[in-house]
């Protein structure tokens, strides 16, 4: 067994997390290796130093302060959402207004064109309507090789 593997196993063993099947080979290595025995002693001392380390107490007001800030955050988000929804109202009004104006303009234009058309019909000015297949743009002489016969 290599020392680096043995040292990893020592750490696991001190944490009571080493699988039983590795214990025997680790003990065998430790019996033969003074460097790993020293490592075990150092790790034991390190563990006990950390276990006795004092940790500062958390100020009791921090808990309630964080909850207050979270509630304030919710309020801010709710308010901004409401403002966003309020912004929708003028946008919707603008859309409806443009639809209404567009409809009015359309009706007015339609009425004026139909009125002028009916005025033309009543005055006898009719437009000639080309029937299907009739060519009104090209002169007939074009098809007759340029002669008028």
């Amino acid at each position: 067994m290599r020392c680096s593997n043995a040292q990893s196993m020592i750490i696991l063993k001190l944490d009571k997390e080493l699988r039983a099947r590795y214990s025997a080979s680790l003990e065998k290595h430790l019996a033969a290796c003074s460097a790993c025995r020293l490592f075990r002693e150092e790790m034991l001392s390190q563990n006990s130093r950390f276990a006795s380390l004092s940790q500062p107490a958390v100020a009791p007001w921090i808990h309630s302060r964080i909850l207050d800030q979270a509630a304030a955050h919710d309020n801010r988000r709710l308010r901004s959402r409401m403002i966003f929804q309020l912004e929708k109202i003028p946008a919707l009004a603008a859309v409806l207004l443009s639809l209404y104006i567009g409809t009015l303009v359309g009706i007015k234009t339609h009425n004026s064109t139909s009125a002028s058309a009916s005025a033309q019909i009543s005055s006898g000015q009719t437009t000639e309507v080309a029937s299907f297949g009739e060519n009104s743009l090209v002169d007939e002489s074009y098809y007759n090789g340029g002669s008028d016969e």
């Binding site: 750490i11 390190q46 380390l53 500062p56 958390v58 100020a59 921090i62 302060r65 909850l67 979270a70």
Partner: protein, 162 residues
């Protein structure tokens, strides 16, 4: 994670996060500021956080917030000429009395290793419990723990030799 569970989550984690931040900032008032900022940042994104990785995520936020805070503290400029003349060479405030080289060694570890060490040394959690807290496998916890303790040993040996 749902917002309803935030208070319970806060109660379960505020102490350990405070200790971690305190180890990074060396200062009680700074740690109090940063712990609040950490939990609020967590709360802002709580809807998108998986329950299984919430503690890891919280440690990551705490680490980043602490580093940002330390950098900002270093950038603080004193404009009063009298105070400026009496400024110490190092801008960082003096560490609290309880702060020891052991805390400094933990603070110098990468966030994942420091998290595992915190949970193992100070809360005496088993590897299985740590894996459940952090949402990682027991094998990963084993590996992190071994790496962290070897690194701590090296750092402490260096400190004692200095």
């Amino acid at each position: 994670m749902s917002k309803d569970r935030f208070e319970e989550f806060l109660t379960a984690n505020e102490k350990r996060i405070y200790h971690y931040i305190w180890a990074l900032t060396h200062h009680e008032a700074d740690a109090q500021d940063v712990v609040q900022a950490t939990f609020i940042a967590f709360y802002e994104h709580i809807d998108g956080i998986e329950e299984s990785s919430a503690v890891s995520y919280l440690y990551r936020i705490a680490h980043n917030k602490s580093i940002t805070h330390i950098k900002q503290r270093g950038r603080y400029v004193q404009t009063d000429p009298v105070l400026f003349a009496n400024l110490p060479d190092k801008p960082a405030p003096a560490p609290d009395q309880d702060y020891t080289p052991l805390h400094a060694a933990i603070a110098s570890l990468p966030v994942k290793l420091a998290t595992v060490i915190q949970l193992q040394y100070f809360e005496s959690l088993s590897y299985k419990q740590i894996s459940a807290q952090l949402g990682i496998s027991v094998k990963a916890v084993e590996s992190l723990c071994v790496r962290a303790k070897k690194l701590l040993r090296k750092k402490l040996l260096k400190v004692s030799s200095d």
